[in-house]
């Protein structure tokens, strides 16, 4: 039994943060410079009281409203988020109720960021191939904006909030796709993309004061810290080798992959990887200008957008690669059947 992606819907919040807004807040950067370096023109930001699960609900509700399958046929819900409603209960349980899914559904959260969609596809593939599920909803959602310090321009220029819902069902094609899956983890990278305080390891700090560390980076224990250069080095270490491993395991040559959809981190990094890997620009999706880096939703949003504009068409073999916070990374190859 082979899973295939039947539908993707994504949801962006109504709040908008433009490059003009950022240039007005932070001296020394123009809107044009921000766009040039990041490839982002605007980020969508959750409004007060709007949770990642609200975005997730709207994306999934709209997908199910298309009538691809009856809600009662959904038998598994995987929710990837680093912005849960509560420490407990599981946010996927709340989504089961809101979406009106049957109580026979298996529902769970998993905590991953940039690699989350690929891991989700892997989990979904395992559940479907083992016969434990036939109609699976994979939802990714985050509101990283809630973790960002207002004075940290390095993160505020990059991250946007979003959710994406993907329906996977047992498909007709028996070509071994999605797959193979290549995963990786290196916890030494944890300090380079982290919200230090607010969990159980380190309680939330009093006040939101920002200090400058020895490397000149602004730091606030209650907010997201991102060491951009370290993360860039990490991607250069793992992405080319992961692509090579995926190709070797799948028996494909690079030119036999029709489209490459990597985690939409920022345009500078993606363009460098594209050139490094000798991937033609027409086969390489860069699609973050209207929403920023949406963490685990970046790949499904890029897929849906590429399909909408005709860059992704039925029958294409697509390499997906997610990499980032953790450090965690994963890659796979899918066939687009829509």
């Amino acid at each position: 039994m082979n899973p295939s992606i039947q539908a993707i819907e994504f949801e962006l919040p109504t709040g908008v943060l433009t490059n003009q807004d950022l240039a007005a807040e932070f001296s020394g950067w123009t809107a044009e410079q921000i766009q040039s370096k990041t490839g982002i023109e605007q980020r969508r930001i959750a409004v007060p009281g709007e949770m990642a699960s609200d975005l997730a609900f709207r994306a999934a509700d709209r997908l199910l409203g298309r009538g691809v399958i009856p809600r009662d046929d959904v038998d598994a819900l995987l929710y990837c988020t680093q912005s849960p409603d509560y420490f407990l209960p599981t946010t996927a349980c709340l989504l089961q109720d809101r979406l009106g899914l049957p109580t026979t559904v298996a529902a769970l959260d998993f905590n991953l960021g940039c690699s989350g969609y690929v891991y989700g596809l892997g989990l979904a593939t395992g559940l479907i191939r083992s016969g434990q599920a036939r109609n699976l909803l994979l939802i990714t959602a985050d509101t990283y904006s809630r973790f960002l310090h207002p004075a940290d321009r390095s993160t505020r220029t990059i991250f946007g909030d979003a959710a994406a819902a993907t329906l996977l069902r047992v498909g007709a094609d028996e070509d071994g796709l999605p797959g193979p899956f290549v995963y990786g983890t290196d916890g030494r990278g944890a300090p380079n993309l982290i919200v230090p305080a607010g969990g159980l390891r380190q309680p939330r700090a009093e006040g939101d004061g920002m200090v400058t560390d020895k490397n000149g980076n602004p730091r606030s224990e209650n907010h997201l810290f991102m060491n951009g250069p370290e993360i860039f080095n990490f991607t250069l270490r793992v992405v080319p080798s992961t692509v090579e491993t995926l190709l070797a395991k799948s028996g494909l040559r690079l030119d036999q992959v029709d489209l490459f959809v990597f985690h939409q981190a920022n345009r500078f990094m993606l363009e460098h990887l594209r050139k490094r890997l000798n991937i033609p620009s027409e086969k390489f999706v860069i699609s973050m200008q209207d929403c920023g880096n949406t963490v685990s939703s970046s790949i499904p949003i890029a897929l849906a957008t590429a399909a909408r504009v005709g860059q992704l068409v039925r029958g294409m073999k697509v390499m997906l690669l997610g990499f980032g916070v953790g450090y965690s990374w994963g890659g796979t190859i899918i066939r687009w059947t829509q």
Partner: protein, 77 residues
């Protein structure tokens, strides 16, 4: 790669006019040497030499000469 060739590549990567870098400069005196320039330097090293330089080592550099010392194995005199 010669040192002048490295200077020209670095100028191109971080958006400086050719000839801005001569080799004796302190990084703090180079216009546009900022966090984005560090990313550009990492990209340059990866493209030209297929290697990575540690961020701590880059941060410890105070001058163009320090950057050149990081790449000593790849630069000819």
């Amino acid at each position: 790669m010669t040192r002048p060739e490295f200077h020209r590549l670095l100028e191109t990567e971080i958006g400086l006019s050719p000839g801005t870098i001569q080799g004796q400069e302190l990084l703090k005196d180079i216009p546009k040497w900022d966090s984005l320039a560090v990313l550009s330097f990492i990209a340059l090293v990866d493209t030209q030499f297929r290697t990575q330089v540690s961020v701590d080592d880059i941060t410890a550099c105070k001058s163009i000469a320090d950057l050149e010392r990081l790449l000593a194995a790849h630069l000819s005199t």
